[in-house]
């Protein structure tokens, strides 16, 4: 009995405490935001916030460029970095008060956000012509269930990067020749390698999987880990993996930057580190390597695009439309290419001389022809785990491929069922 009374007492205290705290802070929060708003309306006009979880230097380039273009319209774009963006959008996606107006992120989480009901198609705000100049592959990446949700800004994909001072002779153009070169030039005991790759990361094995015609997940959300072609690709990757060190990101990049690996399969995010290390860098598109079956390597590509939150599409329609139009300007792409070594999504940006002559960006544009955008269905988010577990089991723990594929296929199927 007494415990019950105590419980009731607790409950009432909790509510009163909350009422007290709640009203108190409510006031302060309200006044502070009001002040903020007043300030902005007086000086800067409308603010459009864009959340991202990327490289702040890259976002700064876009922000500066867009704000310059919008200076006459009294609109300011503010990029805010949020670690763990997916989780943050789950919490704040529908929150007009403290959440973002737009977000910029890789396209593979698009389906998740759309199904959650936090995004509006960009066609609600702007005309199709705004993204008509974007590379077809990037447009496709931002399209979910027939609607365009993302305005592509730049894209990333894997490249073959080599140290010109270490590589002997020409870089081969078939994977078999590459393997032969690796066999000759790898000495794991001495810690020197011919080629390193994050060989147990699904993204980095995608050139093989897609090239062999396999898939991690198909359009109808069926996992493809037990697909014969996927398994063939994993088997093929394994023989490379044996000559590629541990495959952990930190390990492989350090090996390459220290000159202990002659080549690395990696993305444009490695460039700044490689430049700092003073490596004489050469770049070859993965599309220029031919597999034994005659296909080219076909890496996944990740498209960084901007999406619009539902509330912003309704309440800030005009401002958002202007921001999207400004971001789609080829000048943004050119600035990204020049200042941040990003491959712009806008094809017109490639007409610029400086962009055209950049070896890495040219290689990326070339890879865009065979690259496949990562699937953007929500089910993809649960596929990374099983796919990488499979790769790690085969490459690192030496498990039997068929059994492991069977096991992780089941795990993936269960995870997909769990989503419903």
């Amino acid at each position: 009995m007494r415990r019950k009374i105590a419980m009731i007492l607790c409950a009432t205290m909790v509510t009163t405490l909350f009422a007290g705290c709640g009203s108190g802070t409510e006031n302060t929060v309200a006044t502070s935001t009001e002040e903020g708003k007043e300030e902005t309306s007086a000086n800067e006009g409308e603010v459009v916030s864009i959340w991202h979880d990327g490289d702040e230097a890259i976002m700064k380039v876009i922000e500066d460029q867009v704000n310059e273009e919008l200076s006459d319209d009294n609109i300011t774009v503010k990029f805010e970095k949020k670690s763990g963006l997916t989780d943050q959008i789950k919490l704040y996606g529908n929150d007009a008060e403290s959440g973002p107006d737009m977000y910029m992120y890789a396209h593979d989480s698009l389906g998740t956000f759309v199904e959650m009901g936090v995004l509006s198609p960009i066609t609600d705000v702007v005309d199709e012509s705004v993204y008509a100049d974007m590379l077809p592959m990037t447009q496709e990446a931002g399209n979910y269930k027939g609607e365009q949700y993302l305005l592509p800004v730049y894209f990333e994909t894997l490249l073959f990067m080599y140290n010109k001072d270490l590589w002997e002779g020409e870089v081969p153009s078939t994977t078999e020749d590459l393997y032969a070169y690796m066999q000759e030039h790898t000495d794991a005991d001495a810690g020197t390698y011919a080629v390193v790759n994050q060989h147990s990361t699904a993204y980095n094995v995608s050139p093989f999987i897609n090239g062999f015609g396999g898939y991690i997940i198909d359009e109808d959300a069926n996992p493809g880990l037990t697909d014969e072609k996927t398994k063939e690709a994993i088997e093929y990757n394994k023989k490379f993996a044996e000559l590629q060190a541990d495959g952990d990101y930190n390990t492989v990049t350090t090996l390459f930057n220290e000159g202990k690996a002659a080549a690395i399969v990696g993305g444009p995010w490695l460039i700044s580190g490689i430049k700092d290390a003073g490596i004489n860098l050469g770049i070859k598109s993965l599309s220029d390597f031919t597999l034994p079956n005659g296909n080219s390597l076909a890496p996944y590509s990740g498209i960084q695009g901007v999406g619009v939150m539902k509330h912003a599409a309704e309440e800030k329609k005009d401002a958002v439309a202007k921001v999207l139009t400004a971001i789609s300007d080829p000048e943004v792409g050119i600035a990204l290419a020049k200042e941040a070594s990003c491959a712009p999504a806008n094809q017109k940006a490639y007409e610029d001389e400086a962009v055209k002559s950049d070896e890495m960006i040219a290689a990326m544009e070339r890879t865009a022809e065979t690259a496949e955008p990562m699937p953007n269905i929500p089910e993809m988010s649960v596929m990374w785990g099983p796919a990488e577990s499979l790769l790690a089991a085969v490459n690192k723990s030496g498990d039997d491929l068929d059994a492991a594929a069977e096991q992780y296929q089941k795990e993936a199927e269960a995870a997909i069922t769990d989503m419903q």
Binding site: L9, L17, Y249, P378, D418
Partner: protein
């Protein structure tokens, strides 16, 4: 509330106050706990009865016990394996931790050890670092196959390089070493403060009786600090039981899977329910796991009973 005047009239009112006072003393704390600990558990219970998932993010409704039926299917061999691993993990960690910390703290309290303050401060360093930083440092700085310190030492001694995290047994030990590294400072500090409370005069009379170091330790020190330490040991046991960061960040972080398939029940739940964005289901799984933790706590209940 604290300074209620002490009336001296009437045994009855005195008695009532004696009944109410402990509650008034503990009420603020209980409210705080009610908000931050109890409410979330109740809320998780509520969500577990709904169909809140990716496709019903804002328009979820109560669907009954369906999620629990699904959650219980997850209590399969994989789960039981994870449970066994977790128990082994907890027991090993706790035993080593308590024994090591005890002797280190004893050493630190030896009379005449002038530098003990300095040693204590240095030994606390691992604790002063945010956990995710420590784990990253160990993964890349210690265990890495090419550049890790341990492998450099192995190589310098003429041994072969070793991959510490690719198979389950070495990975388990590696995780345990890291956990001990991270958790020992706290235990040492607890032991140290407990040792401060032991009345030194006991030792003198024991010495007169001719008791040696081990006897003094066993018959004076241990009984004296036991009641102080039991709470923190129990607390740490729970923390160890639900440890997630170490195993997850060391071996199974996305993009840097190490190859080991070590699972504790929390990582198992994470992998099997939480990645799916199905809040209803994962809440049900949480409640089921919570049930297991309560069961587990019944084992440790003996220590609690003596105390409470």
């Amino acid at each position: 509330m604290l300074c209620a005047p002490l009336f001296r009239d009437g045994v009855n009112s005195m008695k009532n106050r004696q009944k109410i006072r402990p509650w008034t003393y503990s009420l603020p704390a209980l409210i705080l706990i009610g908000i931050i600990v109890v409410f979330p558990i109740l809320y998780t219970g509520y969500i577990s009865l709904t169909n809140m998932n990716l496709y019903h993010w804002d328009d979820y409704h109560i669907i009954g016990l369906e999620n629990f039926a699904r959650a219980l299917t997850k209590v399969d061999s994989g789960f039981l394996g994870a449970l066994a691993t977790t128990i082994l993990w907890t027991v090993l960690n706790m035993v080593i931790q308590v024994v090591l910390a005890f002797f280190i703290a004893l050493g630190l309290n030896v009379k005449g050890l002038k530098l003990s303050r300095f040693y204590k401060t240095l030994l606390m360093f691992p604790w002063a670092m945010p956990a995710y930083i420590s784990i990253l440092l160990w993964r890349v700085g210690m265990y890495n196959t090419e550049f890790g310190f341990l492998n450099k030492v192995l190589a310098a001694l003429g041994f072969e390089k070793m991959n510490f995290l690719s198979e389950n047994v070495p990975a388990f030990i590696s995780c345990m070493v890291l956990n001990l590294w991270m958790a020992l400072p706290f235990m040492i500090m607890m032991m140290d403060s407990a040792l401060q409370s032991v009345d030194k005069s006991y030792y003198e009379s024991a010495k007169l009786d001719g008791a040696g170091f081990w006897k003094q330790t066993w018959y004076i020190t241990v009984p004296a600090i036991r009641p102080i330490l039991i709470p923190s040991v129990i607390m740490t046991t729970f923390t160890t039981f639900k440890q997630f960061d170490i195993v997850y960040l060391l071996t199974m972080q996305k993009g840097s899977l190490s190859g080991a398939t070590l699972q504790t029940i929390i990582t198992y739940a994470h992998q099997n329910a939480f990645v799916s964005n199905n809040y209803g289901l994962s809440s049900a799984v949480s409640i089921v796991i919570f049930g297991f933790i309560i069961l587990f706590s019944l084992f440790t209940n003996r220590g609690v009973k003596e105390e409470a």
